[in-house]
Amino acid sequence: MKGLSDIFGGQRHLLFSGLLLVLLLVFLLDLLVIDRIFGPFVYFYLFFALLIIFYGIYPLYVNRRLTRYYWVRTKRHHLAVIGLSFIIFLVAVAIIGPFLTQDPTEVDFPNKNLPPVGFSAEQAIYDRNTGQFITRETPGTWHHPLGTDDKGRDMLAMLVSGTRISLQVGLMATLIAIFIGLIMGVVSAYLGGWADNALMRFTDIMMTFPFFLLLVFIVFIFGPSLWFIILAIGLTGWTGTARLVRSEALSLRTRDFIMASKSLGASDRRIVFRHLIPNVLSSVIVIATLSIPGVILAEAALSFIGLGDPTVTSWGLVLHAGQRSLDTAWWIAVEPGIMLFLTVLAFNFLGDGIRDAFDPRSQV
């Protein structure tokens, strides 16, 4: 056991690899033998949960002083704390919300275009008795606290579903983008020479494509399913991270502690993993947090123009419906927009706070 753990560089890594293996087996089982033990996203979640627990939470737990230091600095930014609270709230909504609300896809035509509680709107209702349309003030009801859309679907339910989607997309697409960017950046910086050159040229090429145009192009080619959209966003958004990581890694590379390591005989791989990556990690965390809003907006924009996954109720989709009914049912457009806005704002607050907390220059 000891020998085995040495190979993996420590017990923690051994445990992680073990659990990863188990996960992989279950995944394969799901894929090939039994049908659908878990939904496809669940594996993703579990994988990243493992990653975060073993390489994020555990080190923080062990290194209490460092954690507390960063926490105190972040706490000073009131806005960041507000942002974080809102995000936690959103996560809660995303996880338990769908169990508490109605089915967002359930249409209910007689109840269409209901305004939110406290408002009332004029509606043209077809009165079967007289055979004509009469306008009547229809107030909102608590049955549909946020109103309904033009097909009678409950707004609250749709918003909750949208929360789930946006957070999923935000998390996963960002993780993909960061992952690719990190690898590209570190490898490029570390290998140097023509490999670095080639990789950077490739990054330049990808950066030349306008992000949204490229996204639309990919969705156009590959089709609008949620999985592809997440992948597409991840595959188009890594360039910024790669650039930054590379420049940080480059500057670190010439720093003394790397050379000291090398002179002590550390292997290349060890240097990369134990020294380079932890140091660029703080910048990466900042970039990640600040990328999430862009990702969420990208998915929302795609759904809004109709290129999103139509089987999934996301905020963008609701907005799309809302644009048609601006004069009759303004809330359909206003509500998802507010959610988007607040979510993005929260992440921006948080990201800004984290960036200030990590920035060594803002020491007093």
Partner: protein, 325 residues
């Protein structure tokens, strides 16, 4: 670099830009070909559905686009065609793609130009002012608004503006009137809401950059020297600080083009019904008119490339530290 060095730099940069352009075009081609049901098939399906003699049309199109030839051959043809200006035929509009672009680019251009002017002038001014008056109430307000500005989804802002100003207040039409002559006041009025939509997010970003760049320069020693010379504060800021702060701002504004501006313009055009290239591309997507989509994507990339090139050169020229080394 010495004086002649600037020329060398430009030449080297041009060559590099060419390489990148080549890469961009290649990647587009690759993406196209690895798609599941190749858009070409959908295109063919659409074309043939519109004619009486599908088989013959398919043959003709295949011959024209060389879809039956080996991939490498297709690649070369693709490159040659692009260079020659033969960008394909848009069946949904019955126009050669190049003509389609010729008719519509001006709308995108005016939108983007006006938005950038609006965003950069206001943004930079507010940013500098905010930095100079750091920690005052004005600074906090400006910073707060810039946060809001970058967080508001610009497509939602557009809709909200339409809701308030067109639907409720009736000040503007909800849809862009293409009949208006370009250089008229009425056209300008019709563009107000779109420009605000596109420009607000940009402006918020520029305010932040301008503010941080100015703050950084305010701390520098030459500011103290300028004050010690007895220069009035407005000269210290307006001349000394500004000239140093503006350099990184310009580069960021230009490089932002790819990420923010084009995506935003795309959405703004769709929302307001402005018949620019974004909207054209959008319509083409739903019509599966793929030559249009490819071309417009490529145009976007090329514009970004050219702007980056121009910015690089301008920056080199503006910063004496690089110019005279």
């Amino acid at each position: 670099m010495k004086r002649g060095g600037l020329q060398n730099y430009i030449i080297r940069r041009l060559i590099y830009a060419f390489v990148i352009a080549f890469g961009v075009v290649t990647i587009t081609f690759i993406l196209l070909r690895i798609g599941p049901s190749s858009p070409a098939d959908k295109y063919l399906a659409n074309i043939s559905a519109r004619t009486q003699n599908p088989a013959k049309v398919i043959e003709a199109v295949e011959a024209r686009y060389g879809l039956d030839k080996p991939i490498v051959q297709q690649y070369f043809d693709y490159l040659v065609n692009l260079a020659r200006g033969d960008w394909g035929w848009s069946f949904s509009t019955s126009l050669p793609v190049i003509e389609l672009i010729r008719r519509h680019w001006i709308y995108s251009f005016q939108l983007i130009l006006l938005s950038m002017l609006f965003a950069s002038s206001l943004g930079i001014l507010i940013g500098i002012y905010s930095a100079v008056k750091q920690y005052t109430r004005t600074d906090y307000i400006a910073t707060f608004f810039s946060f809001i500005g970058i967080s508001i989804p610009n497509f939602w802002l557009g809709i909200m503006l339409i809701l308030v100003f067109s639907v409720q207040l009736g000040w503007f039409k909800t849809y862009y009137d293409t009949g208006l002559p370009l250089f008229s006041l009425a056209n300008l009025k019709a563009l107000i809401l779109p420009v605000i939509t596109l420009g607000t997010g940009m402006m918020a970003g520029y305010t932040r950059y301008a503010r941080s760049s100015t703050l950084e320069n305010l701390r520098k020693d030459f500011v103290k020297t300028a004050r010690a010379k007895g220069l009035p504060e407005r000269v210290v800021i307006g001349k000394h600080v500004f000239r140093n702060a503006i350099l990184p701002i310009i580069t960021i504004i230009m490089f932002d083009l790819a990420g923010v501006v084009f995506g935003g313009a795309y959405l703004t055009e769709i929302i307001f019904g402005i018949p620019g290239l974004g909207r054209v591309s959008f319509n083409a997507i739903f019509a599966n008119d793929y030559p249009v989509v490819i071309t417009i994507t490529l145009i976007g990339a090329m514009v970004v490339l050219l702007t980056n090139l121009a910015t690089d050169i301008v920056y080199t020229w503006l910063d004496p530290r690089i110019r005279y080394d």
